[in-house]
């Protein structure tokens, strides 16, 4: 019986084995890259809001502390989104005619709350608690990035579990002195690891506990 395939098929077969493997890796890599791309993670993608609130203006420009608006960040799992009342403490006096603040004034007059699109949104099976983080020397900017440089708010990190675990496995890389938690200027120094280790010890952070599943999932 004559050969069905020409001998060139040997090469083709070899190429397709290798090529197939490469293709598979490319596809897999592509999928992973896609999954990590801002298209999916929304990292650095500014969200549209009813009122184009600028953290850059309020934080860097005016120097308002995080806790002025996010009042429950050190006492509650939820940092708190300011009620219209908080906005009106200033804006009943300044920029009272500004058209971009119309929704705020409207909310105040009618009693209808403002609606914000959530920027940092963890999945529902993750139970994050702000208060324990800020009380143990994890600063706002560690997770939320340089909000003082964001005219419109966007996510600074993927908030993937692997990202959380970087710190939950080695908090010494990120921990800072408690008095620097709300600072937007603080940056880790060259001796962060040594300083961090001391702080981890001082603040009683039990690193081995931070990877218990039920610390975040329940």
């Amino acid at each position: 019986m004559a050969q069905v395939f020409p001998s060139s098929m040997n090469t083709m077969a070899r190429v397709s084995i290798v090529g197939g493997a490469i293709l598979l890796n490319v596809l897999l890599g592509g999928a992973m890259a896609f999954y990590r791309s801002p298209f999916v993670t929304n990292v650095n993608v500014a969200k549209e809001q009813e009122v184009p609130f600028s953290h850059k203006h309020h934080v860097a420009g005016l120097g308002i502390d995080c806790r002025y608006c996010h009042t429950s960040v050190d006492t509650s799992p939820f940092a708190g989104i300011p009620p219209t009342e908080t906005c009106m403490t200033c804006h009943s006096q300044v920029w009272t005619e500004a058209p971009i603040l119309e929704p705020v004034r409207n909310s105040w007059d009618t009693g209808t709350p403002l609606v914000w699109n959530r920027v940092t949104d963890l999945p529902d099976f993750v139970y994050f608690n702000h208060s324990i983080h800020v009380n143990k020397g994890i600063g706002c900017t560690t997770c939320h990035g340089q909000v003082d440089q964001m005219p419109l708010m966007s996510k600074a990190n993927t908030f993937h579990m692997a990202w959380c675990l970087q710190c939950h496995k080695s908090p010494e890389k990120f921990i800072r002195p408690k008095d620097q938690v709300y600072s937007v200027e603080w940056k880790p120094g060259s001796n962060q690891l040594d300083e961090g280790k001391k702080l981890v010890e001082e603040y009683g952070v039990r690193v081995e506990q931070l990877t218990n599943c039920s610390v975040c999932h329940r």
Partner: protein, 1032 residues
């Protein structure tokens, strides 16, 4: 259900007898099906998840199944590719004072049961109540709850609640009604005040009737009094099926006035219950359970515990807790009461009791006499007033009155109306005579539950104007011209008294979801006022307290949940000396007797639409979603009945059909019908469940009637019962006899005192030190553990409901329960010991995940969805679980529950509101189990870490522990020697379930101790002698 199931479930009673023959030891069994080895039982036993092959509906073959599964797998994979949906945050405009977003607030309020309050603390999550706990300040709660108050939060969010006012069945509004009733009652006036038409009031209002359930609310009482002052003809009637008419009549006869009776079980050495189920959900059961179990605690220093005797009809939880219970038809209790009274020198003529009961009667009388002044004799609501009078007489004679029993004035707002059957009879007579022009029914469902001989519905038809205020558009609503949605108690301002007279102001946790109104508001409308409930209640208390310092008083009352100083003072009452007892009721030998009881989980029917309570297994029968015709083994043998058979019960010429359940311990000539089921106008949950026992319940014989007939009609479908589910190796009779390690350990106080090593010795295997399992626990962390004291546990099941409320556990429905798929994280196993045809004993054992240190489930999970935390928790990570169910197969305790279908409701908006925001709502295909309330642990740990300290003992209270009225559950750090749980673990009663497996559970149990009377039960001199020799 097909016939296959019927033959499969046919109970061979001869086999039961055979299995029991010759067994006298301490062997425990769970069901008659187990004793008879029915194929159905075998099926449950042999397969870890019963009947998994029948998941697909009939007609789906293997190939189709593979196609569907393949497609679902592919689609399930694709769903992971979706982008996260956008979520919104909606802040307040002006935030409420004191509210910290994300942190729940707690408010004191109260629920009423038969008018009486049980104080509660409601957890409020950003404006919605999500969980109820007991109020530690409240005398009827002391921090715990019963199943009804625990489950009542689900009724608040019941989507089947009545949502609109209806006039003749069409949608209307409250304002239209208020205007209508104002004109009808007060007459029509022009704007200038000229009257243009007469109202009912102008003719003295003789045609106005108000029908309520039992009322203790001081505000409602004052409103009614004011109304009656303005409209002299207005009459107020009270009726609910759970009224204590015979007790009220007895009090009037014995003391010449209605009384409130407090029983101090924590001071009683001997308690005799004459058909009184005081540990079951009566209004005071939480306090009774707390006090009773407090007097049952045995410590190395203290072993003088109380002894409970119980004479009852159908077995109850109280009977199961009794040291000596006898089961006789309820009509014979009177004879027993008379005999005991005679022995104690009370004049109570009557025939001698049966030979078989004489020894019991003698022993009880002797014991009561010996503990004169520290005993309690109490009679149940189902017993005639004569038995109550006998109890009063005995208590007086022995000097118990004033010591362990405290009399006060009656708590009810109108004690004269407390003979409710008479009250209802008068009303029905007036209705039939056409004297009633306007009937206002404030809550309740009399068309459904009024005694059948009164024919309430027909009488109602003769009333010109009928108004119904109710939570549901029910049987009564349908017969009325006007129906108004009632506000749930968590939506209203009101007040109520508890058993000792202490008042509680009921404050709302949320605005009415459906514009419901309270009885207060309806009465205000009747008076032509538009006052809100808040104003009415506040004004009442302002008047009572006075203006001076009222704001402070009001705030304190609301914050504490009790109004200080309102408890009624004790009264020194004597039974009238000239009171002659009526002649003994002649007993009819051999006649079949029928008894009525409230259903143990849905009460008189008002909880019928509550899925948590429908699915909660009834404490003894372990039936769910149904009521049964309960018969005993001897009767079943005589009439050749099997479980699930359909029978027809004829009482006084009226017939009702139901399915048979054979209850071990049920007396031969007694058939028990439980009330509350068989609704005709029921909403989704209650629809089609059970039969209506009210259809044969008459006003003259509300609790038991002789001369019943019972006829078998045929086989019936399988009922959903859980006693054959989640069976553990070693639970079974032969396994116990083989290895001699029962899962429940029970001894007597006397044995334990003589031999404290009694229970420790039952662990016949030395602990294995070697294990191939690694232990990830860490000595630097606190190590959580739990102990459950079987000596305290009454088996009420409130832990199951509390767990369900706390942990977002879904309701699965009758069909799924039948397949053994109930989702409760805690199950309460009930074991019987002894002859099912005699007076078997029952022991209850709550079992949830025991958090093994060497957990068999963890090593078999292919995806690491169940792993150990270094605090010793066996964590379950839902988002990792792919649903292989290997963990469940490998769990020796059978405590893992799988979401076979999408059980949790994630669509109906109002049902979302009951969910605990701190716990994941699980989806289909996910395994779940007890987490030791890890959300509460995390909360406490975070609070502690912020203050740089360890979690203190008692800081973490699990949901089941908080709810338990018996305080049977302890939780805490087992490495802290001063913690309660660590102390319990070193107690000699402490033991481990299936300890031979070396799983090292963190939940351990404490053996149960009975306190038998040596006169009635030979007590082994050496504790170990009664045990079988151990194999090694």
């Amino acid at each position: 259900m097909n016939t296959y199931e019927n033959t499969k479930n046919r109970l061979d009673l001869a086999a039961v007898r055979e299995a029991m023959a010759g067994r006298t030891g301490r062997e425990y069994w769970q069901s008659l099906e187990e004793l008879a080895e029915t194929p159905s039982f075998r099926g449950f036993m042999d397969r870890e998840f019963p009947r998994e092959a029948s998941v697909m509906p009939d007609g789906v073959d293997r190939r189709a199944f593979m196609k569907v599964m393949g497609a679902s797998l592919a689609l399930a994979g694709l769903t992971a590719c979706s982008r996260q949906p956008n979520e919104q945050i909606i802040p307040y405009v002006k935030p409420p004072v004191e509210l910290v977003p994300g942190v729940p607030m707690y408010f004191a309020t109260a629920m009423t049961s038969r008018g009486r309050a049980i104080g509660l603390l409601a957890e409020n999550q950003m404006g919605r109540p999500s969980k109820l706990e007991g109020n530690p300040n409240h005398p009827a709660s002391l921090g715990s709850t019963d199943i009804f108050s625990q489950a009542s939060i689900l009724s608040l969010y019941d989507p089947d609640r009545s949502t609109v006012a209806r006039k003749l069945g069409s949608i209307s509004t409250w304002d239209t009604f208020a205007k209508w009733i104002d004109i009808l009652v007060n007459g029509e006036k022009l704007a200038d005040g000229t009257k243009i038409s007469q109202g009912l009031k102008d003719t003295s209002g003789a045609g106005i009737r108000i029908l309520t359930e039992t009322v203790t609310s001081p505000t409602l009482r004052s409103q009614l009094e004011q109304l009656q002052a303005g409209i002299p003809g207005l009459r107020w009637h009270q009726y609910e099926p759970g009224g204590s008419d015979s007790a009220v009549r007895a009090a009037r006869l014995a003391f010449g006035q209605p009384v409130g009776i407090q029983y101090l079980f924590d001071k009683a050495d001997v308690v005799l219950s004459l058909d009184s189920d005081f540990l079951a959900p009566t209004p005071e059961n939480v306090r009774h359970t707390r006090d009773f179990t407090a007097k049952r605690r045995v410590t190395p220093e203290q072993h003088a515990v109380s002894r409970l005797y119980c004479a009852e009809g159908t077995p109850t939880l109280t009977g199961a807790m009794a040291d000596h219970a006898v089961h006789v038809p309820p009509s014979q209790i009177e004879g027993i009461a008379r005999a005991i009274a005679r022995k104690l020198g009370v004049d109570a003529p009557g025939p001698e009791v049966d030979e078989s009961r004489r020894k019991w009667v003698d022993a009880v009388a002797a014991d009561l006499l010996q503990h004169a002044g520290t005993g309690i004799v109490l009679a149940g609501d189902s017993q005639p007033s004569l038995v109550h009078i006998l109890a009063h007489r005995i208590n007086e004679k022995l000097g118990n009155a004033g010591q362990t029993i405290v009399y006060t004035d009656a708590v009810e707002a109108d004690p004269q109306a407390a003979d409710q059957t008479e009250s209802l009879k008068t009303l029905v007579r007036d209705m039939q005579d056409g004297k009633v022009e306007l009937l206002i029914i404030l809550g309740g469902n009399p068309v459904y539950y009024a005694p059948v001989d009164l024919d309430f519905a027909a009488a109602l038809d003769k009333v010109a104007h009928r108004v119904h205020l109710g939570l549901y558009y029910d049987e009564t609503a349908e017969c009325c011209h006007w129906h108004l949605p009632e506000a749930h108690y968590l939506e209203t301002w009101s007040d109520a008294l508890t058993f000792d007279g202490t008042a509680t102001v009921i404050q709302p946790l949320i605005a009415p979801l459906y514009n419901g109104k309270s009885a207060h508001e309806l009465l205000a409308a009747l008076a032509g006022q538009g006052n809100t409930g808040h104003t009415l209640v506040r004004e009442y208390w302002k008047k009572r307290h006075g203006d001076l310092g009222f704001d402070a008083f009001w705030k304190t009352a609301l914050a504490k949940g009790v109004v200080e100083g309102t408890a009624l003072p004790p009264k020194d009452l004597k039974v009238r000396a000239d009171l002659a007892l009526s002649a003994p009721t002649p007993a009819t030998e051999g006649a079949l007797e029928v008894a009525f009881c409230f259903d143990s989980t849905i009460g008189d029917g008002r909880w019928a639409n509550n899925g948590w309570l429908q699915e909660l297994p009834k404490p003894l029968t372990k039936l769910t979603w149904d009521n049964a015709v309960i018969v005993g083994l001897p009767l079943a043998e005589r009439l050749d009945l099997s479980i699930f058979d359909i029978v027809e019960v004829t009482v006084g010429g009226r017939k009702v059909q139901g399915q048979v359940w054979i209850q071990p311990g049920q007396p031969e000539n007694l058939v028990t019908l439980s009330l509350g089921y068989g609704r005709t106008m029921a909403c989704k949950v209650a629809a089609g469940a059970g039969y209506n026992a009210y259809s044969v319940r008459t006003s003259d014989k509300p609790w038991f009637a002789q001369g019943a007939e019972l006829k078998r009609i045929g086989s019936g479908p399988e009922m959903a019962r859980t006693e054959v589910h989640h069976l553990v190796r070693g639970q079974r009779l032969e396994a116990q006899t083989e290895h001699g390690r029962p899962l429940v350990r029970v001894g007597s106080v006397q044995e334990y005192v003589a031999d404290p090593q009694l229970f420790a010795r039952e662990d016949h295997l030395p602990p294995h030190e070697f294990s191939m399992f690694t232990s990830p626990t860490n000595e630097h962390q606190q190590q959580w553990g739990m102990t459950i004291d079987l000596n305290a546990c009454t088996g009420c099941g409130v832990c199951m409901v509390a767990c369900q409320a706390e942990n977002n556990i879904p309701v699965v429905g009758k069909d799924q329960v039948r397949r053994g798929r109930e989702m409760h994280w805690i199950r309460v196993d009930r074991y019987y010991q002894g002859d099912p045809a005699g007076d078997p004993r029952a022991v209850h054992q709550p079992v949830a995940c025991v958090h093994c240190e060497k957990a068999p489930c963890e090593v078999v999970c292919p995806v690491g969805a169940t792993v150990h935390s270094n605090e010793g928790l066996n964590d379950m990570i839902y988002n990792r679980c792919v649903g292989t169910r290997y963990c469940s197969n490998n769990c020796p305790y059978k405590v893992r529950r799988f979401n076979f279908l999408q059980y949790s409701d994630q669509k109906t908006p109002v049902k979302q509101m009951v969910y605990n925001p701190d716990v994941t709502v699980r989806s289909r295909g996910v395994m779940e189990k007890c987490t030791y309330c890890v959300q509460r642990i995390n909360l406490a740990r975070i609070a502690a870490k912020k203050e740089d300290r360890k979690v203190r003992d008692g800081e973490i209270i699990t949901a089941c522990q908080a709810a338990c009225p018996a305080a049977a559950i302890a939780f805490g750090d087992i490495t802290d020697a001063s913690s309660q749980v660590a102390k319990n673990r070193t107690d000699l009663r402490n033991y481990t379930l299936l300890d031979d497996l070396n799983t090292r559970p963190r939940t351990t149990y404490m053996a149960k101790l009975r306190n038998p009377n040596p006169e009635l039960e030979a007590i082994p001199t050496n504790g170990s002698s009664s045990k079988k020799p151990r194999e090694h």
